[in-house]
């Protein structure tokens, strides 16, 4: 995956994750153009489109558009599943997630994404494991700021 964008129906960006190195200016340009293109699509149209030399996979959940840019050899249908999995994770974490959750807790949305995808590829295919990891990391964060972090040598997940 080259990048993932989340934006509202009015075109406001809610999350942007870039896995390719681009300058700020380029990122802004791409975002602007892509948002326009996707928002111009009618509701019943198919979720895939070709844009520049990339394949774009997008899906609308309530008021948010989830939009991924993948490369030529990537499987579009599984990308739809990846988007869906991310939404499920957000849903489980926030409890019935809505756009406002993502606006006010954007950093958490990023943390969850970073536990699910790494370098543009899925790193964990089990929903349960991703959520557990987030939980544990959150707990770590709750620990009052002190000089030492709790030692965690024991792996949390039993290898299947």
């Amino acid at each position: 995956m080259q990048f993932m964008l989340l934006f509202s129906r009015q075109g406001k960006l809610r999350l942007q994750k870039w896995y390719v190195p681009l300058s700020d200016k380029e990122k802004k340009k791409i975002t602007r153009e892509l948002v326009q293109t996707v928002l111009a699509r009618k509701p019943k149209m198919c979720s895939f489109l070709e844009w520049r030399d990339l394949k774009i996979v997008y899906k609308r959940y309530a008021s948010l558009y989830f939009c991924c840019a993948i490369e030529d050899q990537d499987n579009e249908l599984i990308t739809l599943e990846i988007i869906h999995r991310y939404v499920e994770l957000l849903d489980k974490y926030f409890g019935s997630v809505c756009e406002l959750d993502i606006i006010f807790n954007f950093e958490k949305a990023y943390f969850i994404l970073d536990e699910f995808l790494l370098g543009g590829e899925a790193q964990e295919t089990s929903k349960k494991n991703v959520l557990k990891a987030i939980e544990q990391a959150d707990l770590l964060q709750e620990v009052r700021p002190g000089p030492a972090l709790a030692k965690q040598n024991v792996p949390l997940f039993v290898t299947v």
Binding site: L77, L80, L156, F157
Partner: protein, 806 residues
């Protein structure tokens, strides 16, 4: 107030701003606050200030002053500060910024941190924005983590390694040994990462690919894993809509594709598995369809057995009928890739594909259009054209010109009769005249002239169309030209093929004048109309004065071209009236088609024809010398009154040396057409044919069509001089490894008897490596004679095109 509430409070305040200006003001205040916070140093509040800055950055405001703060926070011992620091690094720093190098040391330390969550932060950041330098520095650390850590870290380290290899391909060797051991892991996350890593390694280096194929025996291992996934009982942790870990399945299938491509042993090893996955996977939900789709792609790309390929095409056919539009789109994209190689299999689904032309979605329509055009053949041309013409009337504007050119190409190749061809082109011009290419007008005119028996029909039809509507420029231009040329047929009022109109001379002149005066007509169109009017002066009897007056009016027209024409025509009337009729304005001879620009060659003596090329006499001098040697093979077009003669094939044995010599002679001629092309006039159309096989009344010839730097196009022409038809005619050819062969669909399988017809098949040879010559060898020829005896003749004719480059 807890710090995170302060962040949320800021967000609330920003969102409540009613105007852009108000928002800017708030942001400015907040940024000043944040800057002050950063300057204060460590007070436990820095992470929240950075979080606020990241939000501001997402809104589009500059945030570069936060970069150093990210670096500082990453180095902090507190987890929450590290976490936000790393996030900031991924958002604000990219490999182009200098500050990114500063975090390399922190990442290195954190990679060996005692807490796996800190390690994970470092890995994630490196995989997201690690530059080549950072990757080089940290690669050994990653490799260590690949081998000796828990599965949580292993899976992340594996994907980090993938990123490193993408950035610094030379480091691939470092990870190859660990990659092979990772395949035996049970944890799905690690397994998935391992498959991605091996895929990346194999993609980059063909030696590594070989290694994984032969030495490491990856294929059986992967097959085992897949079998486990496909047949295992319900596993809630990885289950998605009834499919066990579709993400992993898709990645494994993709790796199998790379391993099996062009390799028989590997492909054989996975045949069973692919069949099993293809038949057992439930495709009612997207997850299952994703797996099936990947399976189909894999089957088509490896050396699979034909039964499996048929299965794959059938799956794609099933997808075509799916209610889900996404799946229909995917299926057509895949069918497009295989339509050349598995043409017949795809033909079976033609009906469904044509139905998709009526879909609401433009992307689906576009795919359906491309596929439909690829599926047109001599057999289905009439029905397909009907559908395509209907499509043209309703298609979205962005697809119009593609459709129009596609229709023209198809009509060109497969039209069953001239009248049908002309009708089709007229239909396109009436529906989408504005979207056709410029060559259409001269092409159509040329076509009309060759169909001499249809002149009456054509001019009647065009006149009707002209009277109805003069907005479509190309149509109007053709109509004017025809009326000018064949106006007498129009006025005669009798026609066999179509209900004739009773048209008077005044009617015709009215129509032409309307075109001349209308503001919708382009200057070129008016030129056509003026010349047509002039030509009519020799074909009508009563209204020559009217024509004279029209022509003289335009003698003072503002448009220079029109003015010039009118003045010259006027001069024709006044001073050269004796030349006007019959010599200058008489009926034009049949025009012959030149290649590739289809510019017509006019006979000398015809005065300025509208927008066709200026006539120049054929430079006979240039061609006479070699022409005498090879006039059997050359067809000199234009400047002659005789229509195109098919060239007789050179006699005797088709040895490669003699054909090479002959073609070499022709090679020397090539510069001439190019030069003449510059003067936009007549070309020499070189059509050498070489006979390949002559036996039992069946003769097979190769016609050498054209050659570019890397591609050669030839046509195979088979004809039959026996008493009976030859049926089930097929031809097979083989090429050396460096050449790609593409055999287009033949025009048919039946060669009629007594030389009444021919079967033609176009073959494209692509030779990307220009060092070697593209040559191909006919391997086998099979056909049925008398519906009984099946002849299978092994040919061994090698065709080598000439080395002379045009």
């Amino acid at each position: 107030m807890s710090p995170s509430v302060r962040l949320q409070e800021m967000i609330r305040v920003i969102r409540s701003a009613r105007t852009q200006g108000e928002e800017r003001g708030i942001i400015q205040r907040e940024c000043a606050d944040i800057r002050a916070q950063f300057r204060q140093g460590d007070n436990g509040e820095r992470s929240h200030s950075l979080a606020k800055l990241l939000y501001v950055h997402m809104l589009g405001y500059p945030a570069h002053f936060g970069q150093m703060e990210c670096v500082r926070l990453i180095a902090s011992p507190r987890y929450n500060e590290k976490r936000i620091g790393y996030l900031g690094a991924m958002m604000l720093l990219d490999e182009k910024q200098d500050a990114s190098l500063l975090i390399t040391n922190s990442i290195k330390n954190d990679l060996s941190h005692s807490s796996q969550y800190v390690q994970s932060l470092a890995l994630c950041t490196l995989a997201c924005m690690g530059s080549a330098e950072m990757c080089r520095d940290l690669a050994p650390e990653i490799e260590r983590l690949l081998r000796a850590s828990n599965s949580y870290i292993k899976k992340k380290a594996t994907l980090c390694a993938v990123h490193i290899i993408r950035k610094v391909p030379e480091l691939a060797e470092l990870f190859t040994p660990s990659a092979r051991t990772l395949l035996s892991e049970k944890n799905h996350g690690v397994l998935h990462g391992a498959v991605v890593l091996i895929t990346e390694l194999c993609k980059r280096n063909p030696d590594t690919l070989d290694q994984f194929r032969k030495v490491i025996q990856t294929v059986p291992e992967l097959v085992q894993i897949m079998k486990g996934l496909v047949t295992s009982s319900y596993s809630p942790e990885h289950n998605v809509a009834g499919i066990s870990d579709p993400f992993l399945q898709v990645r494994i299938l993709r790796l199998l594709r790379i391993l099996g491509h062009n390799n028989d042993t590997a492909s054989d090893a996975m045949n069973d598995l692919l069949a099993q996955v293809a038949t057992n996977t439930d495709s009612s939900k997207t997850a299952g369809s994703a797996v099936l789709y990947e399976t189909v792609l894999t089957i088509m790309d490896i050396n699979s057995e034909s039964g499996l390929r048929v299965l794959a095409v059938n799956i794609l056919g099933r997808f075509l009928l799916n209610n889900d539009r996404n799946i229909r789109y995917i299926s057509m994209t895949s069918l497009q890739k295989i339509v050349q190689t598995d043409h017949n299999a795809v033909q079976r689904h033609r009906g469904t594909i044509v139905d998709c032309l009526k879909d609401q979605d433009t992307s689906v329509k576009r795919r359906a259009l491309e596929l439909s055009l690829a599926l047109v053949s001599a057999v289905n041309i009439r029905s397909m054209m009907k559908e395509l013409l209907i499509f043209l009337s309703f298609c979205p504007p962005e697809l119009r010109s593609q459709t129009a050119s596609g229709i023209f190409n198809a009509a060109e190749r497969y039209s069953p009769s001239k009248r049908w061809h002309i009708d089709t082109i007229l239909h396109v011009l009436t529906t989408a005249g504005g979207d056709v290419r410029d060559e259409t007008v001269p092409n159509l005119i040329q076509l009309i002239t060759t169909a001499s028996e249809l002149h009456c029909y054509t001019v009647h039809k065009l006149y009707r169309a002209l009277v109805k509507d003069i907005a479509q420029q190309s149509l109007v231009q053709v109509a004017c030209w025809c009326i000018g040329e064949y106006g007498d047929l129009l006025l005669k009022g009798e026609c066999e093929e179509i209900e004739p109109l009773q048209v008077t001379e005044d009617d015709v002149l009215d129509a032409l004048e309307t075109v001349l005066q209308s503001h919708m007509s382009s200057p070129a169109t008016r030129g056509f109309a003026l010349t047509a009017t002039m030509k009519l002066s020799t074909r009508i009897t009563d209204n020559v004065d009217r024509i004279r007056s029209i022509v003289s009016i335009y003698g003072s027209c503002i448009d220079l071209e029109l003015q010039q024409r009118a003045v010259e025509y006027n001069a024709l009337f006044k001073k050269y009236d004796h030349m006007r009729y019959p010599a200058v304005l008489e009926r034009m001879p049949v025009m012959d088609k030149n290649s590739p620009g289809y510019t017509n060659g006019d006979t000398p003596g015809e005065i300025k024809e509208p927008d066709t090329s200026k006539p120049k006499p054929v430079e006979a001098g240039l061609l006479s010398e070699p022409a005498s040697q090879v006039c059997d093979l050359l067809d000199l077009l234009g400047g002659t009154d005789t229509p195109l003669q098919p060239s007789p094939a050179p006699t005797s044995t088709p040895t490669t040396t003699s054909s090479a010599d002959l073609l070499d002679l022709l090679g020397g001629l090539e510069p001439t057409p190019a030069e003449m092309q510059k003067h936009c006039c007549v070309y020499v159309h070189v059509v050498p044919t070489v006979s390949v096989y002559e036996k039992n009344g069946l003769s097979l010839k190769i016609q050498y069509d054209k050659q570019t730097e890397t591609e050669v196009t030839v046509s195979l022409i088979a004809s039959n001089s026996t008493q009976n038809d030859i049926t089930s005619f097929t031809l097979q050819a083989a090429v050396p490894k460096s050449v790609q062969l593409q055999m287009k669909a033949p025009s048919g399988n039946v060669i009629p008897a007594h030389g009444l017809g021919q079967v033609t098949q176009t073959v494209l040879l692509n030779n990307p490596n220009k060092a070697s010559l593209p040559c191909f060898r006919f391997v086998q020829l099979s056909f049925l004679l008398n519906l009984s005896a099946l002849f299978m003749h092994k040919l061994d004719y090698t065709f080598i095109p000439p080395t002379g480059q045009p």
